[in-house]
């Protein structure tokens, strides 16, 4: 633990930290505007494509009666998976008092909120009748895993929002105290309202602290549930490739891989863009690299179980499915997900050099892309091989290939998620200021002294 600083030193140091961590709020250059323009344009195109899909029907996609779930569901599973990183970093690591992870807990929550919010939207975009969405509540049947999914995903979104907001309150109070007159009036008003009159006294902090602890505990079962239930959308069926008992933990392990890789991307962008080299420092990248190796090893273990055991037996239907994955049409994607998404990060990240920010970010990007294709390889090939032969239908019913509007709608989710991340970074500091300052030996008294009784 760092020693306490003298009040003079502490004030100076706090000023510096505050200045650095609010840089993301101030950056308004050409690149920012261009980035926002691109994101908004792509989102508009995506929404337009969805409108077209609603008008014409889901037939504008490559999905048909046999492969009836395609890119949308793969994308949904991917986003649910990514969102699980909020649980790992801002809850489990916090509760285990893993201090190096504290500066990235807000990044993890940003990613969690963007991902789970979009996951909810993607599933509506996959519906044949989105206009009847309310039927889920009006006629909900609790025997269906979809209802469980809707329940836990909404709960997870709410808890994630709270886990984002509660530690933000003291930061909002700091910004309210220090930024008056320096930012647009409306922005100041937002901080003023959202800070809920926080003055930094012990009692107020205690409320936040205890609520946070409770939420961190609560989110563990809920977080595990969202991805377990999502895996049951598949495991609850009788189809070869999905009909397995390890899908719950298999999905959860895979989720941590995707989420860790995603958080590394965001960290790197913030580090470069908002000049936060000393905050998202080499040590954090190094440790995130090690974390990625660890979660990949766990996931590898589940993959070995998932593919090697049935591959050893080659039961009829299961055998057709596995042959398709190992050496058939899906083999290139399958091996890319296994090598790019597991073997590569495990081997390379054991070497210290590759855990430096740039190489790590690049490797994690490959892992993230492989994670997306991994969901695709879980969803699509199984549907291409039903128990009974596919006959008397046109060729495009037999094999799935996504169409352009379908890809546009899928990409929409990515642009919308990036838009949410950008908006959050532009509005709120990307690292919890008070927590970081405290960790640097600055007492709360100093942060809020002018306003204490």
């Amino acid at each position: 633990m760092i020693q306490k600083k003298s009040p003079e030193e502490a004030r100076k140091s706090l000023d510096l930290i505050f200045h650095d961590l609010t840089r993301s709020l101030r950056v308004k250059d050409e690149l920012s505007r261009f980035w926002l323009f691109i994101l908004i344009m792509f989102c508009i195109v995506g929404v337009w494509a969805w409108g077209y899909q609603i008008k014409e029907g889901l037939g504008i996609t490559g999905m048909r009666d046999y492969v009836s779930w395609g890119m949308y569901i793969s994308n949904f599973v991917f986003f649910v998976a990514v969102s699980l990183i909020g649980l790992l970093i801002s809850s489990i690591m916090h509760l285990l008092k893993i201090h190096w992870a504290q500066p990235i807990s807000r990044v993890a929550e940003q990613v969690a909120i963007a991902a789970v919010g979009l996951a909810g939207l993607i599933i509506v975009m996959d519906m044949g009748r989105p206009d009847r969405f309310l039927n889920v509540f009006l006629h909900g049947r609790f025997a269906s895993p979809i209802i469980w999914d809707v329940t836990v995903i909404t709960t997870y979104l709410v808890i994630s929002l709270l886990l984002f907001y509660l530690p933000l309150i003291p930061d909002l109070a700091l910004m309210r105290d220090r930024l008056k007159g320096k930012i647009p009036e409306i922005q100041y008003k937002i901080y003023d309202i959202l800070s809920l009159g926080y003055r930094g006294n012990a009692q107020q902090f205690k409320i936040i602290y205890h609520s946070l602890r409770t939420l961190m505990l609560l989110i563990i079962p809920v977080g595990l549930a969202i991805h377990t239930v999502t895996s049951w959308l598949f495991a609850a069926t009788l189809r070869p490739g999905w009909d397995t008992t390890i899908f719950g933990p298999y999905f959860v392990a895979g989720a941590f891989v995707a989420g860790t890789a995603a958080v590394i991307q965001v960290m790197y962008v913030y580090r470069v863009r908002y000049k936060l080299k000393n905050y998202f420092n080499d040590e954090i990248f190094d440790r995130m690299g090690k974390t990625l190796v660890f979660v990949c090893l766990v996931y590898l273990y589940f993959n070995i179980n998932e593919f090697l055991v049935p591959g050893y037996k080659m039961k009829t239907a299961e055998g057709i499915h596995l042959t398709e994955l190992f050496t058939g049409k899906s083999a290139p994607i399958f091996w890319f997900t296994q090598i790019g998404g597991l073997v590569l990060p495990i081997l390379l990240l054991l070497i210290r050099y590759f855990r430096k920010p740039f190489p790590l970010t690049f490797i994690a990007l490959v892992t993230l892309v492989a994670s997306w294709f991994k969901r695709y390889i879980i969803v699509v090939p199984t549907l291409e091989h039903p128990f009974l032969p596919v006959q008397n239908v046109p060729e495009h019913f037999v094999h799935y290939s996504p169409t352009n509007p379908e890809i546009t709608i899928t990409l929409f989710a990515f642009f919308a998620a990036l838009l949410i991340l950008t908006a959050l970074a532009k509005l709120f500091p990307v690292i919890t200021i008070w927590e970081y300052a405290e960790h640097q030996g600055i007492e709360k008294k100093i942060m809020f002294n002018e306003y204490e009784n």
């Binding site: 014409e56 029907g57 009836s68 009748r129 009006l138 049947r141 895993p145 959308l233 189809r239 008397n392």
Partner: protein, 304 residues
């Protein structure tokens, strides 16, 4: 069914039960007016439930008694009391005539690539003989599809039929993923001839008019069963492949010959079986093995 009988049925249908018998098309206007003006010699075209376009004198028409949508959905969910429908498909007699598929697509207003009933070309192992296998919905007693439906849009009725309410279906397609028999189809685009059926009251027991963005599948022609008729496919078969009946009465009737036999004897004497029985779905459709076949297998008549 003999000629006189079918004629009587036709008249009854044209006159009385336009919409409830699954008639739509040109009969659609019936639902929009209460009185029909009797003008002698004024003839109109009607589409019967078996898909024939017929002409009838307007004077002989009376307003159709169409159950309201709510009433239709209610009785559609209840099913026919005291019944337990069962189907037996004799694989030895199927020669891939596909009359069942045609009748079914007409009855349920399906596009050519949509099959409630699909005749598959099967070959179980390398050295076994190929055969044709008509495949409807199995109407399982332990249906994987109804279990996963989030809104209770597909459900199991008392009389054994698994039905769909396309006024409620949200189009999530979880049931398609859950069905191991690939029995379900989806309306990916506008259903066939949808412009003709605008304003026609939905008939849950035939799942017509079909709706874009919702599921459809074989319903054992529940609307025809209510009228005391055999399912469309069963009646259409020229080769005595189908037996259909009530398990509670232990009697099944052949759709081609009209012969009625004991269901349990038929299954027992011919080593009847159900499809993928190891999955535990408990189908209500039974198959008789393709043994002592009435015709040679003719290979890939319809490619793919």
């Amino acid at each position: 069914m003999n000629n006189a009988n079918s004629r009587r049925n036709f008249l009854k249908m044209a006159g009385l039960t336009a919409a409830s018998a699954g008639v739509a098309a040109s009969a659609g206007f019936l639902s929009s007016c209460n009185r029909i003006e009797a003008v002698e010699g004024d003839r109109i075209k009607l589409l019967t439930s078996s898909g024939e376009l017929v002409e009838v004198d307007r004077a002989s028409l009376t307003p159709a008694e169409i159950p309201s949508l709510t009433e239709n959905q209610k009785r559609g969910r209840a099913g026919l009391p005291g019944r337990k429908w069962v189907m037996v498909i004799d694989l030895a007699r199927c020669r891939n005539a596909r009359k069942c598929m045609e009748a079914c697509q007409t009855h349920h207003q399906l596009r050519p690539e949509q099959h409630h009933m699909n005749v598959l070309q099967m070959k179980d192992a390398e050295n076994t003989s190929p055969y044709y296998m008509p495949k409807p919905c199995m109407h399982c007693d332990n249906p994987p599809c109804t279990k996963v439906c989030p809104v209770n849009a597909t459900f199991k009725r008392e009389d054994g039929i698994v039905l769909i309410d396309n006024e409620r279906c949200i189009g999530c397609r979880f049931c398609i993923a859950a069905c191991p028999y690939s029995a379900r189809v989806f309306n990916w685009l506008e259903p066939r001839d949808s412009e003709k059926y605008v304003g026609v009251t939905y008939n849950i027991e035939a799942n017509v008019p079909q709706k874009k963005g919702t599921i459809s599948k074989c319903l054992f022609s529940a609307d025809r069963l209510r009228d005391g008729k055999l399912p469309s496919c069963v009646s259409a078969c020229p080769n005595s492949v189908y037996w259909f009946g009530d398990q509670n009465e232990d009697a099944v009737t052949n759709g081609t010959t009209g012969e009625t036999v004991s269901f349990s004897n038929l299954i027992r004497d011919n080593a009847g079986y159900t499809l993928l029985e190891e999955l535990g779905t408990k189908p209500r459709v039974y198959y008789l093995p393709p043994k002592g076949r009435a015709f040679p297998y003719q290979g890939e008549i319809h490619p793919s």
